[in-house]
Symmetry: C2
Subunit: 191 residues, 2 copies
Amino acid sequence: MEYLKDILNDLIGINKGEWLEIKSFLQHREFKAKSPIIRAGEVARHIYFIDSGILRTYHINEGKEISTYFACDQQFISTFSSFITQSPSFEYLEAIEDSSVFRISYESLNTLYKKNSKFEKIGRILAEKNYLCVLERTLSMQTKTAKEKYQDFMNTYDKKILTRVPQHMIASFLGVAPESLSRIRREMLIS
Amino acid sequence: MEYLKDILNDLIGINKGEWLEIKSFLQHREFKAKSPIIRAGEVARHIYFIDSGILRTYHINEGKEISTYFACDQQFISTFSSFITQSPSFEYLEAIEDSSVFRISYESLNTLYKKNSKFEKIGRILAEKNYLCVLERTLSMQTKTAKEKYQDFMNTYDKKILTRVPQHMIASFLGVAPESLSRIRREMLIS
């Protein structure tokens, strides 16, 4: 949990009392590999800070799972559009590996915002990060080759995600066929 | 400018002093139809609040203009990713019609954030709105028919934008050929 304290301190500068207040709202949860955390149609009630493990979001299009985001140790994740609008999620959130997380509820986060508006900055930074992430993915989908997309992915995502997330999940994230991704990876190893 | 005061008051509740502070940072600008406001490669130094007129963002892909956002009276616009990262924009911002705007600079907004963190909420709400907008567009692109996309566009965008933005700009936003959009519009008028 100390990591989260450091991240928040870097972000908004928090004193001991403020940290204790945030901490009082955090709930620890553990999820087994492949277990669902949020299902499509449910409202995302929490944002998750990953202590250890890997989580991903995905949606289902024409019967196929399309991965939309991956996060691992010391990163935040949720089905974010559902969380900020408090309306049913179109995405699923699941644990890829056994994962340990701290979660904070929508109500608790809003209580923090009301108590001290400096916490709004956390919400702003998270929203800006999510915005840049989805924008980058969209542009990449529209304008880049499969190889360029994979190179971007390697530059953006944590090594843990690159090496431990199943290839078909990464392929669906990139919008390329799993066979194409295998070929690209082989070519990159050779060249 | 009173509209902006009302919008901000609804959002974060501002007193007279706070409004005067915000107002002191606003600059009024007028742009002729078709004039560029931000060019790709430039850093977006401002966010724009539209008093009257229509603005759009677009990028160029394989020589073609792809519209990415439209805004009119009492709405905010910028090349947002460039603004929040203060790095070169991949998009253009231009006036579609003669437009009157109030702009605030990145530095001024950050001065407001530092002076009073309640202003962070404005940044959070803007970032969340931009996030939802790009996410919605991406999902729509991936999963919807041309007709569904146009129907979503009609439900989301202001009537002024629907009626006064040139059709080819809307077609590129939706990712459909201009002829397809004309056909869809004819069909919708008949049915």
